[in-house]
Symmetry: C2
Subunit: 224 residues, 2 copies
Amino acid sequence: MAPAAPPSPTPETTPSGHQLFTRIRLATPSDIPHIHKLIHQMAVFERLTHLFSATESSLSATLFSPTVQPFHSFTILLLEASTTLFPVSTFDSNPLFKPLTEVVNLRLPFEDPERDTFKSTDDVTVVGFVMFFPNYSTFLGKPGFYVENLYVRECYRRMGFGKMLFCAVTKEAVKMKYGRVDWVVLDWNVNALRFYQEMGAEIVEEYKFFRLTGKPLQASGHTH
Amino acid sequence: MAPAAPPSPTPETTPSGHQLFTRIRLATPSDIPHIHKLIHQMAVFERLTHLFSATESSLSATLFSPTVQPFHSFTILLLEASTTLFPVSTFDSNPLFKPLTEVVNLRLPFEDPERDTFKSTDDVTVVGFVMFFPNYSTFLGKPGFYVENLYVRECYRRMGFGKMLFCAVTKEAVKMKYGRVDWVVLDWNVNALRFYQEMGAEIVEEYKFFRLTGKPLQASGHTH
């Protein structure tokens, strides 16, 4: 049944309306400059720039292994947006991951103050990313995924993009018959805590997260 | 300078004394029955048998990938003990990991009530294991290791074996120029908390550990 008046403020049938076309695809080595900027922006948001030392070349040297396929090692899915339809591309025929697309209808024209910094191709802008890799549960006797980062640029928040990225990972986990998806959230990030709890995820309260890094790691690795 | 009297209660020079020879080596598919028993024992110790569903065949189907080398994917190092010297074996010439050995001098002859269950070869008994795999820090722009489990059977505790296993991992992390080693500890396990803190590791107090598993994972992976 057709909806009654008032007419929709988001005219789905008008291609010239305020539509945002989005796409999640596997990142490639040529995305590293954008990925590096997104990671740095996330470090600023998390007030952890003192821990940030990644460079484009350190990322380049350690990501995108030529011998291990995505999902079986470190994997990055990128979220892009465009005000026009995405043209057909080689991503569409990638046998490892078929891009996920969605159209978002907006009430107002979209303004991205960082459009030039995150411009991918003519009409396409990089919006966010999710970085994850396999982990393993000996109790379940099978792998899972650990989500290292999920980040959406500020002007694109509260539009469902975080959930799109997260569900791209859980969808793959279910497809691969993996047992669980794990990640950590900073305790002051109440929006993130709420976001994940609303999706049915639970905090494992009895876990103390340990880390050995820097000099203590060097010392431990050289003794014994 | 030689130590003064009293004479050492652990006669290092007497091969017929109470010595325990130990070896850390890469696990192989034929170790799965022992690994499965160790994991179950750990689940009992952690009071988490309700989460234990691994079988020998689920472990067998998901560990020891033929295409990815140890340390680049899920990896298990086994600790074995023997009252006699380990004979020369193929493990000694494994280019991926040269076994780490140590001799422990004991005041009394060693009694292992589970010797038959964990017997490997004639004189060799499986004592414990560490299970770990690569993780990735986008802030550091490089990989690290995540330690999923470290377990030593009860009668072998308080003899330095946990540290031997842990340092085998940190040593490899340093060798591979990895940035950090992460793991979680159950908050009631005060011995484990103390053990790791004494090694210079720190608890990342602001991390809330999230997990999505079972039905909520299935639901999340099938929506969207």
